[in-house]
Subunit: 199 residues, 2 copies
């Protein structure tokens, strides 16, 4: 369009390449950015570059960190005998919000998905096994999502971990608290029935 | 949260400061950005800085441009005798998408809104009047939104422009094409009735 100068078009395209941001939102964000004071735009650009430059995977748990070993792995208050295995750093944040879990984590950075050509070698399984050789672990909690890929990954890991004499558990799946049975989908209801517990 | 390194927190905060982006989306965007190759992040940051540095208001119409005079004002194919007055550069884009309008624009960068302390001095009214002294204009189309501020601004400008012997018109407001009368709100229906035309 003749009415959009090139540097603005470029900025809009960059915003539009982000997930969940369409052409219209990208335009709105670019216009907003131009309306900010120069220092704020510089600080935003700087934050991007600094984050990309300094943040990498923790040597132990593969979570994101700007140090060699992340705060959780380095903390003497956390129980190294329990490892919660999750798909992504976002899942670690979800657990940390609870302020309940006192063990450590292992971030797989993906799930096994043969259809997408992702096998155990493409995710951080090797790093988990190496870790188990170096430290004594009593329990591994499989906290992958209840999707086909999440279940497959949990099953795969459980099969190779159990022979090592480690207790492997899986998060409980069932009816969410506050929901109504009437509106619960069949798969969830079936799971809740199957996994019923003594009371 | 102990589990989020500072450079990541900063990046998330910057994303969350954008309009329409909440804490969760900001997190998602920051994680996505970290997953991109380094060059792409650099190119994004560079696009921000370049856009902010090179883009300013066109000397004539106040639209955004990276030159002294924007493409539309500089074009000999556009009719300088008609000026379409809009609130923001986004409105220019909307008209340009039509590929119908052959006149020029004037971007006010805001609307008169006494409650927010915005008077005619805070928007680009002075620049419009100056422009009318320098070029001959036959018609000015008021294309501000049909809101209280948009109407007030159109009324204000029309009052000072008419005495200069310039034809001032307003966009037609009524029932949108394809809509159903049954579901049209009262104000719009009333406007459509009021502004009915001979056929």
């Amino acid at each position: 369009m003749a009415s959009t100068p090139l540097p603005l078009t470029r900025l809009i395209e960059h915003f539009a390449s982000l997930p969940g941001i369409g052409k219209k939102s990208a335009q709105r964000l670019a216009f907003y950015l131009l309306s900010l004071p120069g220092e704020q735009v510089e600080s935003f650009a700087e934050a991007m570059l600094t984050a990309k430059r300094t943040i990498h995977h923790c040597k132990i748990c593969q979570n994101l960190t700007d140090q060699e070993i992340c705060d959780i792995c380095a903390s003497p208050q956390r129980d190294g005998g329990t490892i919660c295995v999750v798909e992504s750093p976002k899942d670690v944040l979800a657990f940390e919000r609870l302020n309940e879990y006192k063990g450590k984590y292992h971030v797989l950075h993906g799930l096994i998905s043969p259809l997408d050509g992702i096998g155990p070698e493409q995710i951080k399984v090797k790093e988990l096994l190496l870790r188990l050789q170096q430290t004594e672990v009593q329990e591994i909690i499989m906290a992958t999502n209840p999707t086909i890929e999440g279940e497959a990954t949990a099953m795969y890991l459980s099969k190779i971990l159990k022979p090592l004499g480690i207790k492997v558990t899986r998060l409980a799946f069932g009816i969410p608290i506050g929901a109504e049975l009437e509106y619960t989908d069949n798969v969830t209801l079936n799971k809740a029935l199957e996994n019923r517990i003594d009371m």
